[in-house]
Symmetry: D2
Subunit: 264 residues, 4 copies
Amino acid sequence: MNDSKTEPEELRSIDLNVDAGEQADSSRMESERDLLSRVSSANIACGYHAGNAQVMRRAVEWCAELGVAVGAHPGLPDPQGFGRRELAVTARELEADTIYQIGALHAFATAAGVPLVHVKPHGALYHMASRRRELAEAIVRAAQAVDPKLAIVGPAGSELLNAASEAGLRVIEEGFVDRAYLADGSLAPRSLDGAVHSSEREAIEQALSIVERGTVKALDGGTAAVRAQTLCLHGDTPGAASFAAALNRSLRERGYLIRSPGTR
Amino acid sequence: MNDSKTEPEELRSIDLNVDAGEQADSSRMESERDLLSRVSSANIACGYHAGNAQVMRRAVEWCAELGVAVGAHPGLPDPQGFGRRELAVTARELEADTIYQIGALHAFATAAGVPLVHVKPHGALYHMASRRRELAEAIVRAAQAVDPKLAIVGPAGSELLNAASEAGLRVIEEGFVDRAYLADGSLAPRSLDGAVHSSEREAIEQALSIVERGTVKALDGGTAAVRAQTLCLHGDTPGAASFAAALNRSLRERGYLIRSPGTR
Amino acid sequence: MNDSKTEPEELRSIDLNVDAGEQADSSRMESERDLLSRVSSANIACGYHAGNAQVMRRAVEWCAELGVAVGAHPGLPDPQGFGRRELAVTARELEADTIYQIGALHAFATAAGVPLVHVKPHGALYHMASRRRELAEAIVRAAQAVDPKLAIVGPAGSELLNAASEAGLRVIEEGFVDRAYLADGSLAPRSLDGAVHSSEREAIEQALSIVERGTVKALDGGTAAVRAQTLCLHGDTPGAASFAAALNRSLRERGYLIRSPGTR
Amino acid sequence: MNDSKTEPEELRSIDLNVDAGEQADSSRMESERDLLSRVSSANIACGYHAGNAQVMRRAVEWCAELGVAVGAHPGLPDPQGFGRRELAVTARELEADTIYQIGALHAFATAAGVPLVHVKPHGALYHMASRRRELAEAIVRAAQAVDPKLAIVGPAGSELLNAASEAGLRVIEEGFVDRAYLADGSLAPRSLDGAVHSSEREAIEQALSIVERGTVKALDGGTAAVRAQTLCLHGDTPGAASFAAALNRSLRERGYLIRSPGTR
């Protein structure tokens, strides 16, 4: 992906990803289809932190219909905490948990006639796997065991992507549009003023800055390098679908294709 | 399978199957490996009525090591009732539930380098799918969607096997060795005296009668036809492993190979 | 309650009840407080078909603050099906499941300094307990074991209320405002045209007819007797809060107090 | 409890406690009744890390029949990890989780006509609440909210018992008979040789040493002070019931009554 600078048309594409299938009940998913129609990749919950078989099938079917790349969004087995709380899993436990979750979603993708494209860990697991090599490797081993063509989504420079690269898996670097960065390239802690961009305009500016320059204005001054082939949108806020539509439009107006690097 | 009478060596093989991976905790599985070493097929719980990722992986690894055919044992989402209580699922719900469960186990089989060979529904679902065509078809569609080479295990003449055959899936007919049959070929209800064979000797005699003659002595008089390529052992009784060893020995003494028809 | 006709002021009160605490995540409950402010009783999910400890506490705290009577809303252990699918529980199993659920909610009520007022079974369990005496008795025994002052909510004439009355528990008869009745007093099956009142106006008219005359216009002609001390509102439809406000206002304009009979 | 030295008869009693109700299925509890008959207190799982309504009721009924003090054994919401893995719960979350679990078990005790006597956190939560004051206080607040007469079980000197004492709850100090201690009074880490007493004789000697002298031989030399009114037995090892019987006999031969301090 990094040598794409020599291929002009590749320069002009970007992926938008959103979490999907997090509902407890497939009858409560009305708003999700609209959101999915604005993005190019979906990270579908696999029944651990959220979702269930009915919801997963529905989300996969919509992705198939809309041409959205289907990804697994494995999480910690903590539905009460929505996978947001760290749990002291061992690497061996995590490997089995991840095989289970990817395997279940892979089956729905197969049933819908579409490939499973990527794996992006959810919530606390995303952060744990970004920092701790043995957990990163457990996720990578699980993905590789189920399907060696899977891509791994994570922050640029993270242990997760390092482990994936070394194992020969494709990696997709992810940037955030509604969170401020510090000059060292890390996300600003939510406790800092300005850590979350509250206006659509700010978030769209940050998105354009990431895709056009690979940098963002840092919250602590100067600029931060943010290398990303995919941008993460949050689907669980009230204006999510309208923001996704606005960002999608802004990017296309600048000449970007909205598509998953995993499907190139 | 039914025309195997012209192939003498085929006549002399029988499958022994047992449920596996039903523990809540992989540290409580010590006794399971011994039982698995006496059979040729395992039906592994997939996390709905019992089991979880750690337990599933362990059970699959033992099967791989021991040359036991790995099968999925999907159940109803009722862990409290161990999948033994009927639940009013729709065919569409059941299809998704079964894709999820088979998909998860398929991934563990792939990770262990062995094929997923068969699917046998568990508990109340076994009975529901034997009688109700639309549920049988839902399970068959799910199996076919994940892997069209899967075989379906069920009672001879059941809607489950009818649906599987018509869909072009291989079928494996199952007989029971510790349950008495009625003359019409159905299992005697547990409420009847003598419905459960309490002695090892009786159960082994019934097993030999099924494999050698395709009939058993009926509880209500006469004989019942019981066509079976696999015999179901129950693993959760105290003497399960020693009974499995005794049955295994008796069959081999008569010249039978103990092996899964799904792996021929 | 039925001899209240001699007490004029009692004639002029009615309870409005709504299901609460059905979210998977206490951070997704914003809209619930508004709805609770329009009713006099809440049926709080207890973790079986929906809800969890965090959500239950939040719902109970809001009820305490708003003066809404707290009730337990026990369901079948089927979160995937939201408790809407019949499950073949035995009376003995149901009794334990109901003790568990009422006990957990009772503790939150105690912690919040308010009484637990009533028990209303949820979904498929409501219907099963209305028709099947042994299940009705199991729920009544469970309620009585935890707190003999609990009232039981159900349809007038149901096995559930019969069992409760005979056991000496108070009963609260429930009517539905957005569902049409047949002349025999039963709810019209959803498959019939007109079974669900789609307009606010129709639903409010039915509510007023129930409280003022104890009858409604039957879908199959004539009138149906509907005896009710509480009216059930559905909280999971888009306009739920605004409808609750409109109904609340209409009843108060006619001089009715909106309050739980369980707290008189 | 500590000034009991002036009351000779009090000197001569000790509590034996064991975890109970950890099965997934009440039909698999046969061995539990025997174990319960050898102890004076049971810590019953409440459905989070293990157990369910059927199992809880059965365990409580046996305790009632055998005169064993019923205690709640709340755990982290991690059934896959059997509550043995640390989870990053907040104090506020833990308080609600503990109210839920104690409340549910309290209801079964009420239904069986016996008091709920004590609360002992399970697994990782036991260790987290022993060390972290805000979590200790959350458990204490939960216990107090449900029933201010509840006693709290934990290690002498722990934050858990400090918080309980300061809140005015009774405390029960716990010692371990099959684990070696270090001279500072802490349990020897399992990674050290000799950290677990593998022989019955060693464990019984340690038990007698704790009750008679309040000290044990430390693994790292010298003696460790171990103040305990209750001794923890582990029920999930093969020889658990026979060891419990042997310890029970040894203590009674020395003149000790086996009984819960919570019921004095």
